[in-house]
């Protein structure tokens, strides 16, 4: 499925959080969104997920405006993992993941074995299959994040939006989540802070002050001028033994 944004704008209390953002993400691509704090990444993700209607412009899913679609139909194609979503309810891991089936169920269409299988697979995908009975409040931050990702995967989305999913994770789970995300045969839009990890995306978009200031292949957009301009850092380019490029940052 094809997700695109046309001239998106968003304002709160007279502050412009997003201005004239247009982008197109091809099916199957992993699109990384990077940018300093407050540059509008989360706001853009919310608009792309159809959580809020843009104050200007529109989001198109296969050419159809999200604003004209029912929330339920959007959720059958697009899943979102927020940066932080907490609960005080005494709810088990498996019950959280099962919430992902909500857009496919109704008061009359009840839970089936197929739903069970989808939930099981999502739990395996994020390496949480051995914790299905654990209560939410006993999980660590990283485990919660993985459960949220499993919940999004249980939606069987064509497009998965992830807002800094590696935030609370230890390095092993950071890598395994990124690897998982990269291998998914679906479109992924992911916001990231680690620029070296961002290099593994198919394409990158750089946000600065509510605008998309660059988009394209990682190598092409992450230039030293761009790093200086947007992030205010200098970068030294290193090449590892197997030819991978790495950036090392220091204060400008």
């Amino acid at each position: 499925m094809n997700l695109s944004a046309e001239n998106l704008g968003w304002r709160v209390h007279g502050h412009t959080l997003l201005e004239n953002v247009s982008l197109e993400v091809a099916p199957g691509q992993t699109f990384g969104l990077i940018g300093p704090n407050g540059s509008g990444k989360t706001t853009l993700l919310r608009l792309l997920a159809g959580l809020s209607k843009p104050k200007a412009g529109r989001v198109l899913l296969d050419g159809k405006s999200l604003a004209r679609m029912r929330q339920r139909h959007i959720a059958q194609s697009i899943a979102l993992v927020e940066q932080q979503a907490e609960t005080t309810d005494r709810i088990q891991v498996r019950q959280v993941v099962a919430l992902g089936r909500t857009p496919f169920l109704s008061a009359l269409r009840s839970w089936t074995e197929e739903d069970d299988a989808i939930v099981d697979q999502a739990l395996v995908d994020v390496d949480m299959a051995n914790m299905t009975g654990r209560l939410w409040h006993t999980l660590s931050g990283g485990e919660r994040q993985r459960v949220h990702i499993a919940r999004a995967l249980a939606q069987q989305p064509k497009i998965l939006l992830l807002d800094e999913p590696t935030n609370h994770l230890d390095i092993r789970h950071q890598l395994s989540i990124l690897e998982l995300v990269r291998q998914l045969p679906i479109t992924v839009i992911i916001t990231l802070h680690d620029l070296n990890q961002a290099m593994a995306c198919d394409r990158l978009g750089i946000m600065d002050g509510g605008q998309l200031v660059a988009a394209g292949k990682p190598q092409a957009v992450l230039t030293s001028e761009r790093l200086q301009q947007t992030f205010g850092v200098q970068a030294e380019l290193l090449t590892t033994a197997n030819g991978e490029r790495l950036m090392r940052f220091y204060h400008a």
Binding site: V12, H13, R46, A49, G50, L51, S52, R70, Q71, R72, H73, I74, A75, Q76, I78, A79, L80, E82, A85, E86, T87, T88, D89, R90, I91, Q95, V96, L99, G100, T102, P103, L105, S106, A107, L135, T138, H148, Q155
Partner: protein, 348 residues
């Protein structure tokens, strides 16, 4: 693990428990009536059987106690469900059916009729209370709407906060109005009557009230069951619910308005019975978990049983005197809930 067995058997156990409670509510009172007399009267009334029973007994059973027990059950169910829904939607453990100014508005309406003589006798106490509840709810909704659109962003979490704060503001306003009317024109006798009404009073209840309470409670139960998955989807807040395909605004509006309506019906009938709507949902979460497919029926049943039980106690605890039921609900409910709280924490 009696709770698990209870849950499995809940399907057929629930109606039995409810029937037993209704029978108990009918049998126990200032004069005890044997169960076989009650069953005979019921058979006479419902199936036209012609058992010979004492006519006074029959009158007490049918006209006073049974209708009263039925209304108590409906109130308990409605208040517990309203609590479940508001706690789920607003993500606030302190949310209760009276959060949106309904009890405050109802008491203002009741006092306006009872003390200030609003409607010049044409308006009943219940009608006045219902009108007051509706007025207060409308005001709170308008205020919440203005406040949440003022904060912009349209984020559901802000809207939930706005509803709670608007509810507090609205409740305070109407409570002050009630106090003002009482202070200005009530005599001591009226003030005592009002106090009783505010704490809940089932004594004036007849079948005409049950005819209104029963459809309201059943309607509320059906709406909650129908939207059980939507209620589950709010577990991680409104944004997460929206990302899982819930049309947050219309669903939230529908559920809140439905619960407000049901609550207003009950409050205008029997007064503002506290504690049930706040605590029954929490107690049931400890016992059956937070999934609404179980929480909704469990809370509906527990609310009904609890209020029938509280009504029985209010009639027998002090011989020759009926205590306000709100006193009993809190007096019995608070220690019972504390017990569940402590044991539930220990279990995990």
């Amino acid at each position: 693990m009696t709770f698990i067995r209870l849950r499995l058997n809940g399907c057929w156990l629930a109606p039995l428990m409810l029937l037993a409670a209704l029978l108990a509510g009918t049998a126990i009172g200032e004069t005890s009536i044997p169960v076989d007399t009650i069953l005979k009267v019921l058979a006479n009334k419902l199936w036209g059987a012609e058992y010979a029973v004492d006519r006074i007994d029959a009158g007490i059973i049918w006209n006073y106690r049974l209708s009263r027990a039925v209304v108590a059950a409906c109130c308990g169910t409605s208040l517990a469900l309203a609590g479940v829904v508001l706690q789920a939607l607003l993500r606030n453990p302190l949310a209760d059916p009276y959060l949106m100014g309904i009890s405050a508005g109802a008491s203002t309406g009741a006092v306006a009729v009872m003390v200030a003589g609003l409607g010049a006798g044409a308006l009943t106490l219940s009608a006045g209370a219902f009108a007051g509840a509706g007025l207060a709810f409308g005001l709170v909704v308008l205020l919440a709407h203005a406040a949440s659109s003022g904060t912009g962003g349209g984020r559901g979490t802000q809207a939930a906060g706005a509803i709670i704060l608007a509810g507090i503001a609205g409740s305070q306003l109407f409570n002050a109005l009630t106090a003002f009317i009482i202070a200005k024109s009530a005599n001591a006798e009226q003030a005592r009557g009002i106090l009783f009404w505010l704490l809940g009073n089932l004594s004036g209840v007849r079948w005409t009230d049950a005819a209104l309470a029963l459809p309201a409670a059943l309607g509320g139960l059906l709406i909650c069951l129908w939207h059980r998955r939507a209620l589950d989807a709010f577990t991680f807040g409104t944004d997460s619910a929206a990302s899982m395909g819930i049309a947050v605004r219309p669903i939230r509006a529908l559920l809140i308005i439905a619960m407000a309506l049901v609550t207003a019906v009950m409050v205008s009938m029997v007064g503002a019975i506290g504690f049930v709507g706040l605590v029954i949902p929490h107690a049931m979460r400890f016992i059956v978990g937070s999934q609404h497919v179980r929480l909704v029926p469990a809370s509906a049943l527990a609310g009904a049983l609890f209020l029938i039980g509280a009504d029985i106690l209010s009639r027998v605890i002090v011989p020759g005197q009926v205590l306000p039921i709100g006193v009993i609900t809190s007096l019995i409910g608070a220690p019972a809930f504390a017990l569940i709280l402590v044991r539930g924490r220990r279990a995990t």
